[in-house]
Symmetry: C3
Subunit: 138 residues, 3 copies
Amino acid sequence: MAVSGGMLRVETAGDGRIVDLTEGVRSVLRTSAVQRGLATVFVRGSTAAVTTMAFEPGGEEDLTALLDELVPRVRERARDRRSGEADAHAHLRAALLGPSESVPVVDGDLLLGSRQQLVLLDFDDRPRRREIAVQIVS
Amino acid sequence: MAVSGGMLRVETAGDGRIVDLTEGVRSVLRTSAVQRGLATVFVRGSTAAVTTMAFEPGGEEDLTALLDELVPRVRERARDRRSGEADAHAHLRAALLGPSESVPVVDGDLLLGSRQQLVLLDFDDRPRRREIAVQIVS
Amino acid sequence: MAVSGGMLRVETAGDGRIVDLTEGVRSVLRTSAVQRGLATVFVRGSTAAVTTMAFEPGGEEDLTALLDELVPRVRERARDRRSGEADAHAHLRAALLGPSESVPVVDGDLLLGSRQQLVLLDFDDRPRRREIAVQIVS
């Protein structure tokens, strides 16, 4: 057994912006030289999430529109009333989507579909520098 | 340490159809002979998802109705306008639910609840042949 | 390679109640003495979920209000019509959020953000005793 990994650092504009992490995760994987195992991608923080999607034109716009509708940012929420901030919607979206995904590693590569990317969604109401941990067990 | 695994291949009717993967995952697990570890189930592709649920009468109907309401398939979305296809809702549902779940393996079995199954949800607007990777680390 | 772990047992009031699992998971991790690996938290059962959030005043209230809105408990659903119970909303919420999260372990600790806790959400319509498995691979 072995555990290897690395930390991806990305700057985002926040506000629901989606960042493709796939090449960054692949880079950590190549450095590890693992051929078969499990790669877990985990974002630190409570206003961002990790999932997979086809990161193609229209997809980011659709997902942002959906979340704006399901979890609107305008309405006053309990957290905002207490904190004086305006990021309660970001906390809710992050909890709903979750901070981690795990992807099988086979033949030294992520076993993603051909149109499936690992993405970070940053819901915060301001630009952020994010740390995304990539942990590989093999 | 050891990594073992297998690929489940299932044909679905798409359109939100839910497929119970539990016995397939257990079959891969038995072949691996792992007694203690972690089993990760991951669907390749960006219009399907993996979660757990009580796969019982009414459950599939309820979940389909909920997703039809939260993420309707009828409304024109940015992806569909660009692609000329009609599967943007499927991409959104898949990103929301996520492609993977990890289940502890104890005493050679999945540590699921008695009424908890691993399921695939296929949101595509047409029948699909799906590949679901089962990766077991131990 | 090694696999270690433990089971957390918590009693909840159900009804969407959120329980902070972080210290419990850390306790299992300390017992394992693992310095580098992956910790997976998995709730057994089909009416509860695991995610991460800033477990701070207002957060539980906001998340409960959001889920009451997105997946109302009052409306009659197919499962309830068949079972005569009233927990279909709980099954739906659990499937939507998912039962597991995996967190990297680095330097003997969970690599959570400073305001990010591992939480259990119990959606059942009555008090429950829950089993949450913590599986650590290293």
